[in-house]
Amino acid sequence: MSVAGETSPPMLAIRDLQLGFRSHRGDVQALAGVSIEVGEREIVGIVGESGCGKSITALSVMGLLPEGTTRVMGGSIEFRGDDLLTLPPRERRQMRGRDIAMVFQEPMTSLNPIMPIGDQIAEPIRLHLGLKGAAVTEHALDVLDKVGIPRSRNILPDYPHQLSGGMRQRVMIAIALACNPSLIIADEPTTALDVTIQGQILDLMVEARDTFGTSILFITHDLGVVAEICDRVVVMYAGKVVETGRTDEVLSSPRHPYTQGLMRSLPSLDTRQERLETIPGSVPALFDMPRGCRFRPRCSYADDGCRRDPPVEVIGGQKVKCWKARQISGVHHA
């Protein structure tokens, strides 16, 4: 396992990213100071409920935020030393697919239904590598081989609907790997797949990291997936990062009340439970955020002190954004 060394600068550093949505109620803050780092050859997971800002974080790294409705209000996204937010659009476009690639959630709809998949794999190869003719096909076959699709020459003229969901996701990963990017952002790539296929796709992503040295930013709401492949995990809640740390540490001893809640609401095969535990309440609306700690209304530890912005506590290797982190940790270990 390769964890970002303290000395080498991270490949991707999102620093204090603030992002607003324009709505009829005025601007609302979707991301309130998100900081995430991804090191070389590292797989980092972002976990959180729907609407916590994980996908929008990914899209802002890609530079694919919906125009007109979203606005970056502060912070920076550094990729190998360049601030992506200040790069001219043309250079940013050329980085997409070549340096940073993305794998989407729905393998059913992420491929053009009326274009043979061979042509779709060829697109980034033609675009970024400048290959032509037979060289493109050769390269496409190579990439398909790498993602474990045998007989790949026969598959090139096939249309997406002729492939199974798992095969389609392999093709998507092949397209992402085609130009050997340094970073792949995977937005819930296994959510729409069967559990058995899910495992194969996860293995494939780890393999991509091991063989090509690709870093992966893995977005998911599934803690099981995080446990399986991520070196580090970032837990997000309501547009903020609430806890980060090494996956084994965070999952074995979660410090933030929200992470603890997530862990408790996982079904367990060891103990027979009548009902799963849930976190009371629901995620606050963007235009109705509580002051101070955003998890306060749903937190059983909260008191008046939590109305102030919580500090980042460093406990062991974990960073926790909570007033009660030390107190809870004490309780937790008792």
Binding site: M62, L64, E67, G68, R93, Q94, M95, R96, G97, R98, A101, M102, F104, Q105, E106, T109, S110, L111, N112, P113, I114, M115, E123, P124, L127, H128, G148, I149, P150, R151, N154, I155, D158, H161, Q162, L163, S164, G166, M167, M172, I175
Partner: protein, 291 residues
Amino acid sequence: MSIAAEQPAVSTSREPSFLVLLFSRGSVIAGSFLIALMVLTAVLAHWIAPFDPNALNIANRLQPPGSAAHLLGTDEFGRDVLSRVIHGARTSLAIGIAIVAFAVGIGTLIGLVTGFYNRVDMVLSRIMDGLMSFPGLVLAIAMTGVMGASSTTVVLALGIVYMPRVARIIRSAVLVVRELSYVEACFALGATRFYVLFRHVLPNVMSPIIIQATFIFSYAVLGEAALSFLGVGVPPTQPSWGNMLAEARTFIVLAWWMALFPGLAIMITVLGLNLFGDGLRDALDPKLKGR
């Protein structure tokens, strides 16, 4: 891996080809028969017409159908009605095709651009709304007034009248397609907007374009006939169904055949195009597939 080995064979054998799907519909068969009839008539007009459509024969004027070798009778100048209907097919279909090419070509382009680029959408779509708010024929008559009556004017006028409808339908289809995740995935690969629009969005809105083309064709045949009937369409020297109807109006009591046969020709063409268009729409609609 067995998934890879089985999948393509299974799915290809299960799906009939599009043409089989299309021609399994009665309406498509009937429609294509009528269209083929009209197209053949137009193409072979010189050989199958028994008389010169413009040959005057005053001695034989206003003959009823079936008399003296004139199967469908003669008009007020003794011209053979059958020959004029046959040659009229050339005019109507040629003008129809030109109007379809104009309206669908430009309409598709405008639809693609307005659906994809928010910045030009506001302006171009309001212009389209403006064009649509005019009654079509009045706009066409006004244009003829400015440009003079000719086949070109008819094509331009009706093309401009039908173009906004195509633009609007393509725009709404583009609005749906541009939100699909393969479009986003394509941007994530670093493709330019122009590339995504023409390589991915355009092929995915082809079916509404094709369906619109058949309906615009039938509107165009009707529109050309209406303009010619009003005397602002094709010049009277050229036999066209609309011109024939216009001339027949004066003699409707004396010579019903002068109005009936060009009218029937218009009806058969429009019916054929609509039957074909309906069947095509159903065959291209994924929700109705397999029915």
